[in-house]
């Protein structure tokens, strides 16, 4: 009896060890590319061509980071990623704020001021979340041209706001549905109007979903490549497009350390957001599974 009990405990131990072993191994696999990017970016070119790939740098140098930031060539302009990084910032901040604000209003109307056809409107907006953007690239290019916005940052802000509304409306609609209607009804009886209720009841309650929406939009827009490469050229490009250009330079000895430093620079803003507010990021991700 006692030995049977002991063997059950042992097999349980082995099971736990197996589970932890697998989890740690998987974690190592997931971290490997980041590790390789960081270490490569800190090595000298000689060391890289000398054959060190996975190991720590023998002598840490930030030269590649400096080059990627201010000297690397994008096409014929050797300005580094800096101006493009700034482009991305100028694009992402207004687009995130606009799309989140509009989404909040839409979600509010769709849940607390339901009108006939509200479901249809929501359905139409929802499909926009899953639009393959290839289907709108050509007309959008035409319209941006007509508006005099092609190849400009305001043009990209417009595009990202338009297609961002779909997701932000989904976020806020699914969140406001959970706020009891009695709350808004009571405020209405007390004489509060449409905007009073929005600003003094709904928005304060919506802080968590506002964070979710901002983080989601920030990540999506910062990481966008398709709109950037389709609607901008040269010096008005966002950082993802510039990164791709840096990496695909074919002249001379390939500077892998600069490539990796450039990739890290382009990745840092979203990585930092993820580290600081990962919980909210995950909520945005799983909200894509519509019911949220």
């Amino acid at each position: 009896m006692a030995s049977e009990y002991g063997s059950a405990a042992r097999s349980r131990m082995i099971g736990r060890a197996f589970i932890y072993g697998s989890l740690v191994l998987l974690a190592a696999l997931y971290l490997m590319p980041l590790w390789v990017m960081i270490t490569t970016s800190l090595k000298s070119l000689d060391e890289i061509y000398g054959g060190s790939f996975i190991g720590l740098p023998q002598a840490v140098t930030f030269e590649a980071w400096g080059k990627a930031w201010s000297q690397a060539c994008i096409g014929t302009a050797c300005t580094g990623l800096k101006p493009y990084f700034i482009n991305s910032l100028m694009m992402v901040v207004p687009a995130v704020l606009l799309s989140t604000g509009i989404g909040a209003l839409n979600g509010y109307v769709l849940t607390k001021w339901r009108f006939r056809g509200a479901n249809l409107v929501f359905g139409l907006i929802l499909f926009g979340c899953f639009l393959p953007f290839q289907a709108v690239l050509l007309p959008m290019a035409q319209v941006l041209g007509k508006l005099g916005l092609s190849g400009t940052i305001p043009g990209l802000v417009l595009v990202h706001t338009v297609y961002g509304i779909c997701f932000t409306t989904l976020f806020f609609r699914n969140y406001f549905v959970t706020i009891p209607d009695e709350l808004t009804k009571a405020a209405q009886i007390d004489g509060a109007g449409f905007f009073r209720i929005f600003f003094s009841i709904m928005l304060p309650a919506a802080l968590p979903i506002m964070v979710v929406s901002c983080i989601w939009q920030f990540t999506q827009i910062w990481n966008d490549f398709l709109f950037g490469v389709s609607f901008t050229a040269g010096e008005s490009s966002p950082v993802t497009v510039a990164l791709n250009n840096v990496v695909n330079v074919t002249m001379g000895r390939k500077q892998y350390n600069v490539d990796m430093a450039a990739a890290m620079i382009a990745a840092l803003p979203t990585l930092v957001v993820y580290v600081v507010a990962g919980r909210y990021f995950v909520r945005g991700l799983t909200a894509g599974a519509v019911k949220g």
Binding site: G15, R16, I19, S22, L23, L26, A27, Y30, P33, V36, M37, T40, I48, G51, L105, N106, V109, L110, W113, G123, L124, I125, L126, F127, G128, F130, L131, P132, F133, Q134, A135, V136, L137, L138, P139, M140, I165, T169, G193, F194, N223, F225, L226, T240, L243, N244, D259, M260, A262, A263, A266, A267, L271, Y274, V275, G278, F281, L285, G288, V290
Partner: protein
């Protein structure tokens, strides 16, 4: 009896609709009108600039007569099938392992999910470097003493598409894990306890009771990953740029190069419409069932 409504009352009645109107207009134009516009271009003879004549389905015939498009479609199928199968498998295993009262679960989850925060261009850049046969993984393994080890898929037309699968799985499996984990957390613990009392082993319980209960999560993951697969553009561009040759061409890269590089705007629009129809065929039934369910549930 009913008092005639004053102007301000009527304005208040219409206010919600007025607030919603600009968004609706923008979506109707930016999504639906633009789709129709692309559809129109796909029925015209447009090459370098849009033409608004009508040539019927000529561009579609031309599209399906292009070997490069056939490569793109075949690659999309290979990529999607492998990407979905492996991502779902890995994501499910990670979720189940994480659901065993793991210490440091939060930290592990964060590690599995961080690739989702990266741009596909960054992911592609990193994996292109890792898979570089001269300096990357192959060289590391060679250095460990396995001299004949060859892992040069990224330069081989026949195998390059699989390297894109590897990078895409790395990026997206944490996402599948997150949805499965949420599904697992929604399952009542008493189910497991009851089965254990009956004498079932843990793997048995998972295989025959828990996993079947995850059906809604499977549906969500499958649909969302299919969408990611069809949309996949940046990753291919960053890793192989459609090459070697056009071995890793997919519909999204085909559309882009036909439209913006090869002056075949009509063919590009036709390929965009094919992509749209594929996505719509998957997404619309899904959205419909999700919305219907949530309304029934209320």
């Amino acid at each position: 009896m009913t008092r005639k409504k004053s102007f301000s009352d009527r304005l208040a009645d219409w206010l919600p609709r007025l607030v919603m109107a600009p968004s609706l207009l923008v979506i109707l134009v930016g999504v639906y009108l633009f789709i129709a516009w692309t559809g129109w271009i796909s029925l015209s003879s447009s090459r370098m600039v849009p033409q608004y004549d009508f040539v019927g389905l000529e561009q579609y015939y031309r599209l399906w007569a292009t070997p490069r498009w056939h490569t793109a479609v075949a690659n999309l199928f290979i990529f999607s099938a492998l990407f979905l199968a492996v991502t779902i498998g890995v994501g499910l295993v990670m979720a189940i392992l994480l659901d065993q009262n793991i210490r440091a679960e939060g930290a592990l989850r964060a590690v599995y999910l961080y690739p989702m925060a990266l741009s596909f261009i960054v992911t592609g850049t990193a994996w292109k470097w890792i898979l570089n046969p001269d300096l990357g993984i192959q060289k590391v393994v060679n250095g460990l003493g396995w001299e004949s080890f060859v892992f040069n898929w990224i330069t081989q037309p026949k195998f390059a598409i699989y390297t894109i699968v590897i990078a895409a799985v790395w990026q997206s499996s944490g996402f599948a894990m997150a949805i499965f984990l949420a599904g697992l957390r929604g399952i009542d613990n008493s189910v497991i306890k009851a089965a254990q009392i009956e004498g079932a082993t843990l793997p048995r319980i998972y295989a025959s009771i828990i996993v079947p209960m995850l059906r809604p999560a499977f549906l969500s993951v499958t649909v969302l990953l299919s969408y990611i697969a069809i949309k996949n553009f940046d990753l291919v561009l960053a890793m192989t740029n459609g090459g070697p040759g056009n071995a890793t061409e997919v519909p999204s890269t085909f559309m882009f190069s036909a439209t913006f590089r090869r002056n075949q705007m009509g063919v590009g629009a036709a390929s965009a419409m094919m992509m749209l129809m594929t996505v719509a065929a998957i997404i619309i039934p899904y959205l419909y069932s999700e919305l219907k369910e949530s309304r029934d549930g209320q």
